[in-house]
C-alpha cells in the first residue's frame, strides 16, 4: 500500500482542542483546524483522542531464551496493539543482557520488527547476581546506546554495589531502575503480607521489604548525586517516601503498573496464579494512594511490567507458578478506567505519564515528543467512549496470562503510528513486522 501519509481529522488533542493532524514523510507535517490533503489516507477521529505514541519503560520480551513465552517481535506486536511506539526490554533473559552482545541482539531484533522502538535495558550486575558490575560502559557505547540499567526481578541489594552502580552511570547520564525488594524479608514470598495472606496461608511479601530499599536508595542517590528510578511502586508507604524525597529535590523518579492501579490482594483468594505478580497486588488503600500519587506527579510514569508466561507456568499450584502478568494491550484502558474516567487526570496528564515522562527518563529523544510540527510521527489514537472485553485467547502476545480476562474496559486503541508508519489501523495490526 503506497500512501502519501495520513490525515487524522477532527481529533481531540491532549489539551482538549479539536484539530486535524497530517503525517507525511515520517513526521508531523501540520497540525491545524481544517487541513485538506487529497493524497493522504483520511482517518476520521471524531470523538477520539490523539496522544503521542506510548512509551513503556518496563517490558519483558523473553528473547533470547524463552521464545515460547514471547519474542521481541511478538512483544512488539502486542505493544503496537496497545498504542506503544517504544518499549524497553528488561535484561532478565537467558543469557542475561549484561553485555553489549545481548543488548545489541535485542536492539537489532527490535529494528527488524520495525513496529516500534525496542530499547534494551542493561543488567546492573553480571548475571543479575548482585555482586559484580556488568559491562555497563560497553552497553552504553553499543549500538543499543543503553541508558537504563536494572536487575529487575532481582533487587540490587548490596548497598555498596548500588552505590557504585549509581556513581558509574553518571558518566553518560544513565539511570538505575531499581526493583525494590529486600531479599531476606521476602524469601519464598507469594503475595502481599496482610489480612488475606494470613487467611490463605501463603507466605507474605511485606510492604516494608519494598519501602526499606526505596528509602535506602533515595539516601544513596542523594549522597552520590546520580539518577534513580524506582520500578513498580506498590505501597502507600513507598509513595510517602518518594514524596518526601522529591520535596527535598532528590533526583528520583518512579513508576506504577496498570495492574497495581486497579487490582488488590483480595484476588489471591481464588488461588489462581494469573494474579501472582512481583511485587504483589496490595490492598485497596495502596491502590488509592498510587492513583493519587500518579495524579499529583509523585509517581512519574505508568510502566507495564508486561511479563509473558507460558500456560504451564500458570496452570499449577500458586506457589509453583511464575510471577507476572501481561500488560501492553490493556495498559491505556486501565489508565483510562482508573485515572481519567475517575477524573483524577486529564488526557494531557496521560500523555505525560505514558509517553513524555518515560521517554525523558529513558533518554529516548525521538519518543514522547508533544504533538508538534516537525516531530517524528509517533502517534496513537484512542476512542475513549468505546469499550471492549478482554479475552485471553485473543491477545496478540504469545502468552495468555492477562489478569483482566473477561473485564469490560473503556477505551479502544484504534491507531498507532511509528515514525509515520501505521502499525495499527482501526484496531487491526497492519504490518506483521515480518516472520518469526
Amino acid at each position: 500500500m503506497t500512501v502519501k501519509g495520513y490525515l487524522i481529522k477532527n481529533a481531540q488533542m491532549p489539551d482538549g482542542g479539536i484539530k486535524d493532524l497530517l503525517i507525511t514523510d515520517g513526521r508531523i507535517h501540520s497540525l491545524a483546524v481544517g487541513i485538506n490533503d487529497a493524497t493522504a489516507t483520511i482517518i476520521d477521529a471524531k470523538g477520539c483522542v490523539v496522544l503521542p505514541g506510548l512509551v513503556d519503560l518496563h517490558t519483558h520480551l523473553r528473547q533470547p531464551g524463552r521464545e515460547d513465552a514471547e519474542t521481541v517481535l511478538s512483544g512488539s506486536r502486542s505493544g503496537a496493539k496497545g498504542g506503544f511506539t517504544a518499549i524497553s526490554a528488561m535484561p532478565n533473559t537467558s543469557p542475561v543482557a549484561d553485555n553489549a552482545g545481548v543488548v545489541e541482539q535485542v536492539f537489532r531484533l527490535g529494528q527488524q520488527s520495525g513496529l516500534l522502538d525496542v530499547f534494551p535495558i542493561g543488567a546492573v550486575t553480571q548475571g543479575l547476581e548482585g555482586a559484580a558490575l556488568s559491562e555497563i560502559g560497553a552497553m552504553a557505547d553499543s549500538i543499543a546506546q543503553v541508558r537504563v540499567f536494572s536487575d529487575d526481578g532481582n533487587c540490587v541489594f548490596d548497598p555498596l554495589v548500588m552505590r557504585r552502580a549509581l556513581e558509574y552511570i553518571k558518566k553518560f547520564n544513565g539511570v538505575i531502575a531499581q526493583h525494590a525488594q529486600e531479599p531476606s524479608l521476602t524469601v519464598g514470598s507469594q503475595m502481599n503480607e496482610g489480612e488475606v495472606s494470613a487467611v490463605l496461608g501463603l507466605k507474605g511479601w511485606p510492604a516494608v521489604a519494598e519501602e526499606a530499599i526505596i528509602a535506602r536508595d533515595i539516601l544513596l542517590v542523594d549522597h552520590v548525586k546520580s539518577r534513580l528510578h524506582i520500578c513498580h511502586v506498590t505501597t502507600a508507604g513507598g509513595v510517602e517516601i518518594i514524596r518526601w524525597a522529591k520535596a527535598r529535590g532528590i533526583n528520583v523518579t518512579a513508576e506504577v503498573t496498570p495492574h497495581h492501579l486497579l487490582l488488590t490482594d483480595e484476588l489471591a483468594r481464588s488461588y489462581d496464579p494469573v494474579f501472582k505478580v512481583n511485587p504483589p497486588l496490595r490492598t485497596q488503600k495502596d491502590v488509592m494512594a498510587l492513583r493519587e500519587a500518579l495524579a499529583d506527579g509523585t509517581i512519574d510514569i505508568v510502566a507495564t511490567d508486561h511479563a509473558p508466561h507460558t500456560m504451564e507456568s500458570k496452570e499449577c499450584e500458586w506457589q509453583e507458578a511464575s510471577f507476572g502478568m501481561l500488560g501492553l494491550e490493556t495498559a491505556l484502558s486501565i489508565v483510562q478506567k482508573t485515572m481519567v474516567d475517575s477524573k483524577l487526570m486529564d488526557w494531557a496528564q496521560v500523555a505525560d505519564r505514558l509517553s513524555t515522562a518515560p521517554a525523558r527518563i529513558g533518554g529516548y529523544s525521538d519518543q514522547g515528543r508533544n504533538l508538534e510540527i516537525g516531530a517524528k510521527a509517533n502517534v496513537m489514537i484512542i476512542n475513549p467512549s468505546a469499550s471492549w472485553t478482554v479475552d485471553k485467547d485473543l491477545v496478540v502476545s504469545k502468552s495468555r496470562n492477562t489478569p483482566f480476562h473477561g473485564y469490560e474496559l473503556p477505551g479502544v486503541v484504534t491507531h498507532t503510528f511509528f515514525n509515520g508508519m501505521a502499525t495499527l489501523i482501526d484496531g487491526a495490526l497492519i504490518n506483521s513486522g515480518g516472520s518469526e
Binding site: 496482610g194 489480612e195 495472606s197 496461608g201 501463603l202 488461588y271
Partner: protein, 315 residues
C-alpha cells in the same frame, strides 16, 4: 455441598449436621458389623502429595467402612513427585472415574485449584493444604470437644478453647479457629509473636503471649506441633526456650480447670510442645481424636457423596 475445601464453605447448620452424622456413624463403628453399603461402587482417591500416614489411613478406613473403592495415590513413587503437573494428575484421575479426591498437598490452595478447574469433576476434600486449612481435622476436633464439653448441646456455645503454638504455619489452627467461631466457642491463641501471622488482627480470637495466664480459664487446651524446620529460622531461640514458655508440662497441667481436656492433632513432639506425662494423662483425649477422626471423615464422605446427612434412627 460438593467440595470441602475450607471451613468457610460450611454454614453452622451444615457443620452441626456433619457432627450429628458422625455421631450416628460412630455407633455403627461400635457395632459388630462395621460396614455400611452407602458408597458401594463409588471410587475415592486418596491423593497424597505430602507424607501423612495418619490422615491417609483415617480417610481410607472411613471410605472402606462406607463400602467405597479406595485408591491410594501417594507422593512416593507417584507422578506428583516425578514432576507431573497437578493438571495432568487431575486429568488422569478424571479419566479413571474418581467420584471424590481426598487431597493432601504442600501448596496452600491446591485443593481449590482442583475444585475450580475444569480438569476434573470429582468432589474435592481438602485433607490439609500447605499452611492453609485442614477442615476434616477441625471437624474431628469439634466432634471431640462437643462430646466432652458441650453437655448435650448441638454446638459449642460458650466453650473456651486455647490454641497454643505455631499458628503462623498451622493449617489445623486456621480451620479450627473458623469452625470453633462458627459453632459459638471462644478462642484464645497463645504463641510467641513470631509465630502469629501479620494480619491476624481481624481474626475472631484473643491473643496472648502468656500461657500460664490463659490456662486456668479454658475448657480445652489444643497444642500445635512445632515443625523442626522452624528452629533454624529465627522464630524462637531454641527448643528449650520454646518449651519453657509454650510447652504443656505437668506444672501447667495442674493449672488447668477441672474437666478441661488436652488435645493435639499429632504427631506429637514429646518433650517439646507437650510433656510425655501430659500426653498420657487422664486429661488427654489425643488418642480418642484419632478414632473420632474415622467417624467424622465417614460423615464428610457421606454428606458429600450420598448427598445427605444421616438422621438418628435412619441407619
Amino acid at each position: 455441598m460438593r467440595h470441602l475445601l475450607s471451613i468457610s464453605d460450611l454454614s453452622k447448620a451444615e457443620a452441626v449436621s456433619i457432627l450429628d452424622t458422625a455421631t450416628e456413624l460412630a455407633r455403627v463403628s461400635d457395632g459388630a458389623v462395621k460396614k455400611l453399603p452407602t458408597l458401594r461402587g463409588r471410587t475415592i482417591v486418596n491423593l497424597f502429595a505430602e507424607d501423612s500416614t495418619r490422615t491417609r489411613i483415617s480417610f481410607e478406613a472411613a471410605a472402606k467402612r462406607l463400602s467405597a473403592d479406595v485408591i491410594n495415590f501417594s507422593a512416593k513413587g507417584s507422578s506428583v513427585s516425578k514432576g507431573e503437573s497437578l493438571k495432568d494428575t487431575a486429568l488422569t484421575l478424571q479419566a479413571m472415574g474418581a467420584d471424590a479426591v481426598v487431597i493432601r498437598h504442600g501448596a496452600s490452595g491446591a485443593p481449590q485449584r482442583l475444585a475450580d478447574s475444569e480438569w476434573m469433576l470429582a468432589s474435592v476434600i481438602n485433607a490439609g493444604d500447605g499452611t492453609h486449612e485442614h477442615p476434616s481435622q477441625a471437624l474431628l476436633d469439634a466432634f471431640t470437644i462437643r462430646k466432652h464439653c458441650a453437655k448435650g448441646a448441638p454446638d459449642l456455645a460458650g466453650i473456651r478453647v486455647a490454641i497454643v503454638g505455631d499458628v503462623l504455619h498451622s493449617r489445623v489452627a486456621r480451620s479450627n479457629i473458623l469452625l470453633l467461631n462458627l459453632l459459638g466457642a471462644s478462642v484464645s491463641l497463645v504463641a510467641p509473636p513470631t509465630l502469629l501471622p501479620v494480619g491476624i488482627e481481624k481474626w475472631p480470637v484473643d491473643i496472648s503471649y502468656d500461657f500460664d495466664a490463659v490456662i486456668p480459664s479454658v475448657d480445652v487446651v489444643m497444642m500445635l506441633r512445632v515443625q523442626q524446620e522452624r528452629m533454624s529460622n529465627l522464630f524462637f531461640p531454641n527448643a528449650r526456650e520454646y518449651s519453657r514458655y509454650f510447652g504443656l508440662n505437668s506444672d501447667r497441667l495442674k493449672l488447668m480447670s477441672p474437666h478441661s481436656i488436652v488435645m493435639h492433632p499429632g504427631p506429637m513432639n514429646r518433650g517439646l510442645e507437650i510433656a510425655a506425662e501430659v500426653a498420657d494423662s487422664a486429661r488427654s483425649v489425643i488418642v480418642e481424636q484419632v478414632s473420632n477422626g474415622v467417624s467424622v471423615r465417614m460423615a464428610i464422605l457421606y454428606v458429600l457423596l450420598a448427598g445427605q446427612s444421616l438422621e438418628a434412627g435412619e441407619k
